[in-house]
């Protein structure tokens, strides 16, 4: 067993080693020998600050309790890093080009350098991360107590309780962070020493966990299968108890967003990144690291469950298993691993938070207090920042300690890992919109983050105190003022799902919804439009808009004064010299180009954040409204050019469409033209036949005077017949054209169909007698109201009945007319027992000039005009009815007229 003295001193020695690592790295870096320190390997290892003590110890505990759930915590980041080309690469590029210092700075800078957004994000980060730091402190104290549990009565340090241990850890971390994290306000907010120490710690914790894993799997058992077999033997279920469901998905989403949105992850992945290409390595190396970290988690958990006495804390299996086997050295190594994961999280989280607090809360307050600038000497603002950062770090760690102290023995800290993941996930919609959605604006981002955070506090953060506070427990159970719809874990009656899923769903849904709708409903400011272009189009525009020369109103001296206060005289001087900006007496009347101002603003922003840098320069009038309008104008010109080309594209598309339509119309015209030609040639042909016979016969009559009376009168009769035929033809054509072009005012009125049919039948009876044909009328109805023109309808009936009579060559000719009502229609069938109409004519019997050729010549019937059926067809169509040829009851043809009944009383 290890004595508390020994354990605590080891921890202190380890922290001293970290100091050395950091110090040496910083020293090498300042000599320009950073080399290995700025390598993809160190970068990747430092990203693994993601694995805190919550994952080092807690993953085994989670695995013991909930099976594979812990894998989701690593799987989300794995997916994000494998897809580095899409989100992370763009994020890193944007942040480098804009000198972004934190996630608050990123969102504020994108959304018009808004200070309020920066403050909001900083506050949310404080609320989410402070308990997380407390959790790390708790892990440190618990692990010290576990690893040194039994003996050590004689030790002097054994008297230390939890609280003093945590306080000691907090002070140690504060010292380290202040010493290495705030040495200077760096150009790019990079801390090589700290990163080196974090990378070192990352290696230590990985090796520690793997060592314990190998020891458990191969030292104490006989391989993986044996571990599982033993667990089964001991009566544990090694399989997933429930199918993977919404909680698994929610965890994937949370962990994927945490790897980007956690302030410490944003800091280490984006801000501390010195070369975008390192992502290429981190893209596979970080997932591999995560996989190695978790490969032994399940075996350790199961082995612990199977061998340790019931009731032992599975969160501490990593320590207790080697101890139980008497491997004190391994236990100490594991303890150092856990200590590493806790301290690295504390260090980076407090640096990231302190940057946010000092840049977005302290500095704006100091600037608004008026003439601070005049009092402060060289680098005055930088000094102010450093001081505020040191104080922030101390305050953050103090808050973490207080949180730990106040929650004490309660288990309120246990679920804080996921709670803080869900808290920072509220930045995700705004962050994605910042990178990909040009129209997203400040009001949208602000309301989204605000609503999301409020819902998160209500549905997740608050209920986490339910076990310690009866008031909150009651609130969770009954809702505020007994309003059940507002119960934190069953919002709007959404009950029966996992509280985590419930909270993640509502907070992200309302967050994204607010972001989208408010952005769509409100306008972007001028600054927001500029920034949205720079962020969204980082790979497209290469900041073209900022390169133009715009005149501001500030003199160079005034601007230099500002630069000196932040960057110091030397850097300001070199910046001005490189850009060839004159100062002093030479500079009277010289205006500073906006290009230079923009560059200076970025330089300042990389130290004090975009919002503050903007405020600072605006104060001296270096970036006043007018110049901004000019920026917009120029940006607008580019935009216009793009829009113009879009318009052109659309126009040409329209033109193509129009051309196509024209082509179609042309084709239609051609078709109509052809039909007209056909019609004309048919008509002329029809007219020509009688004309020819009239002409030739009249010629004979003129030339041959000695024709006998008989022949002469026959010829005259033919002329008469032919001219009558001509007249009928012309009448028909006129009739048809009138029908087709609707020149006549067609009026359908209610009529009695039977009356009309009777009238037509009477007319035709005479004709039938003349042809000696039997006609029969079979009426199954006597009063039918239909809509139509009675005369026209009569014309159709007569036409068809007359046709049936005239073209019937049967031995015992007969025509039958049936009329009935069927399915709400008035149906008239006119059938005969003639030869019928052969199939070849069925399709075009209603066409113009279509005549059925008599099969044997010498039929007594004169050929028809070929217009009657066509006209009938048109008329019936005008009455909204149908005229068709159907299979008749007799062997001849049968025409069917179908007209729909009307409700009104007949006239």
């Amino acid at each position: 067993m290890l004595s508390p003295d020994f354990v605590i001193l080891t921890a202190v020695a380890y922290v001293c080693l970290l100091f050395v690592v950091a110090y040496v790295s910083d020293a090498r870096a300042s000599q320009g020998k950073a080399g290995f320190l700025r390598s993809p390997l160190v970068y990747t290892l430092s990203i693994s600050v993601y694995c805190t003590s919550w994952t080092f110890y807690g993953a085994v505990g989670t695995a013991a309790r909930d099976g594979l759930e812990f894998v989701a915590i690593y799987m989300g980041p794995t997916l994000v890093f494998v897809g580095w080309w899409f989100i992370l690469r763009k994020l890193v590029w944007v942040c480098h080009s804009q000198g972004i210092t934190s996630i608050a700075d990123f969102l504020s800078s994108r959304f018009g350098k808004s200070s309020s957004l920066a403050v909001l994000v900083t506050l949310i980060a404080m609320v989410t991360i402070t308990p997380y730091i407390a959790l790390q402190l708790k892990a440190i104290t618990t692990s010290i107590q576990t690893v040194s549990s039994a003996r050590g009565h004689g030790d002097r340090l054994a008297g230390l309780d939890d609280v003093s241990l945590a306080l000691g850890a907090a002070i140690g971390m504060a010292l380290f962070t202040i010493f290495f994290g705030t040495r200077n306000v760096d150009v790019r907010e990079q801390h090589l020493g700290v990163v080196a120490a974090i990378a070192f710690e990352a290696a230590v914790k990985l090796l520690a966990l793997i060592a314990v894993g190998l020891f458990v799997v191969f030292g104490m058992s006989d391989g993986l299968g044996d571990v599982y077999a033993r667990a089964v033997e001991a009566g544990f279920d090694v399989h997933e108890r429930e199918p993977f469901g919404s909680r698994w998905v929610a965890l994937l989403i949370l962990s994927a967003s945490a790897i980007i949105c956690l302030p410490r992850q944003f800091h280490i992945t984006v801000v501390e990144n010195s070369n975008e290409e390192y992502l290429r390595t981190a893209g596979w190396a970080f997932p591999a690291y995560l996989m190695l970290m978790s490969v032994f988690t399940l075996p350790i958990a199961l082995y612990g469950l199977a061998t340790m006495p019931a009731g032992s804390n599975p969160d501490m299996f990593v320590l207790t298993l080697p101890m139980a086997a008497g491997q004190d050295g391994l236990a100490l190594f594991a303890f150092i691993g856990g200590f590493s994961s806790a301290t690295s999280m504390i260090i980076i989280a407090s640096i990231a938070l302190s940057i946010m607090v000092s840049n977005h809360i302290v500095l704006p307050l100091a600037l608004s207090r008026g003439d601070h600038m005049a009092e402060a000497g060289e680098k005055g603002i930088a000094r102010l920042l450093l001081r505020s950062r040191r104080i922030s770090i101390a305050v953050i760690l103090l808050l973490g300690f207080l949180y730990f102290w106040l929650t004490g023995e309660s288990d309120a800290l246990a679920p804080i890992g996921l709670i803080s993941f869900a808290g920072v996930a509220q930045f995700l919609p705004a962050l994605l919109a910042a990178l990909y959605w040009r129209q997203a604006n400040m009001k949208g981002a602000l309301s989204g983050v605000l609503i999301g955070a409020a819902v998160w506090i209500w549905t997740m953060f608050l209920p986490s105190f339910a076990s310690t506070s009866p008031t909150i427990a009651d609130l969770v159970k009954n809702g505020p003022w007994n309003i059940t719809a507002l119960r934190p874990e069953a919002l709007f009656g959404m009950e029966g799902i996992d509280p985590l899923v419930h909270s993640v769903f509502w907070s992200l849904f309302l967050n994204a919804g607010a972001l989208i709708f408010v952005s769509l409903l409100t306008q972007q400011g001028v600054m927001e439009r500029v920034q949205s272009g720079v962020f969204v189009d980082i790979f497209r525009s290469a900041q073209g808009a900022q390169r133009r020369v715009i005149r501001g109103t500030a003199t160079t001296d005034e601007i230099f004064f500002v630069a000196e206060r932040v960057l110091g005289w030397h850097r300001a001087q070199s910046l001005f010299d490189t850009a060839n900006v004159p100062r002093g007496d030479d500079a009277v009347g010289v205006a500073v180009s906006s290009d230079f101002i923009a560059r200076l603003e970025r330089e300042l922003a990389s130290s004090i954040g975009a919002a503050s840098a903007h405020v600072l320069l605006s104060k001296v009038g270096a970036d006043d409204r007018i110049s901004l309008e000019e920026v917009m104008q120029i940006a607008g010109e580019t935009q216009q050019a793009i829009e113009y080309s879009h318009e052109l594209e659309e126009k040409s598309h329209e033109l193509r469409l129009t051309a196509q339509q024209l082509q179609e119309a042309n084709a239609q015209l051609h078709e109509l033209h052809r039909q007209k030609d056909d019609f004309l040639s048919q008509v002329s042909h029809e007219v020509r036949t009688p004309m020819t016979s009239i002409r030739s016969i009249s010629q004979i009559l003129l030339r041959e005077q000695d024709l006998d009376q008989d022949r002469r009168s026959r010829f005259v009769k033919t002329i008469h017949q032919e001219s009558a035929r001509l007249t009928r033809l012309l009448d028909g054509i006129l009739d048809m054209s009138a029908l087709e072009h609707g020149e006549r005012n067609w009026e359908n009125r209610p009529i009695n169909g039977e009356t009309v049919l009777d009238r037509a039948f009477t007319v035709c009876e005479a004709l039938a007698r003349q042809h000696e044909i039997a006609v029969e009328r079979i009426a199954l109805v006597d009063d039918v109201r239909i809509m139509g023109d009675p005369d026209r309808l009569c014309q159709v009936f007569i036409n068809i009945i007359a046709n049936a009579i005239a073209h019937n060559s049967a031995a015992d000719p007969m025509v039958k007319v049936f009329s009935r009502v069927e399915n709400g229609n008035y149906v008239v069938d006119i059938a005969d027992n003639g030869k019928g109409i052969s199939m070849e004519y069925w399709n075009n019997i209603f066409d113009k000039f279509m005549r059925v050729q008599p099969e044997e010549n010498g039929a007594a019937v004169p050929a028809g005009l070929g217009l009657g059926l066509n006209i009938s067809h048109t008329i019936i169509q005008k009455m909204n009815g149908r005229l068709e040829l159907v299979e008749g009851p007799m062997r001849g043809a049968c025409f069917r007229i179908t007209l729909s009944l009307c409700d009104r009383v007949s006239a």
Binding site: L68, V71, L79, W248, M291, R602
Partner: protein, 90 residues
């Protein structure tokens, strides 16, 4: 050699598409409907099948990521992505 440029652009696009599709597809493989196909209370080499499945996908993802890291286009400057590349002022 005008023929080579489109071929290279084409390869670059393929790599970029792969860089997008692989994590998305992997996410689908790691989501419930698929994942539950393997949570069938069966052992493979003495290890639950769902564990083997998850870690195999994970390992495959790491391998894919290694390949992607080699294949995805290198870049020096965002301006290189546009047709006109100007001097970088930062």
């Amino acid at each position: 050699m005008p023929g080579r440029v489109p071929a290279r652009t084409d390869m670059r696009r393929r790599w970029q598409d792969a860089g997008f599709v692989i994590p998305v597809f992997a996410a689908l493989l790691l989501m419930p409907p698929f994942l539950n196909l393997f949570a069938i209370r069966r052992l493979l080499f003495g290890v639950p099948l769902e564990v083997v499945y998850l870690f195999s996908i994970w390992a495959a993802l790491v391998l894919c990521a290694v390949t992607l890291s080699r294949g995805l286009p290198h870049q020096i400057d965002p301006a290189a992505y546009t047709e006109h590349s100007g001097p970088d002022d930062s």
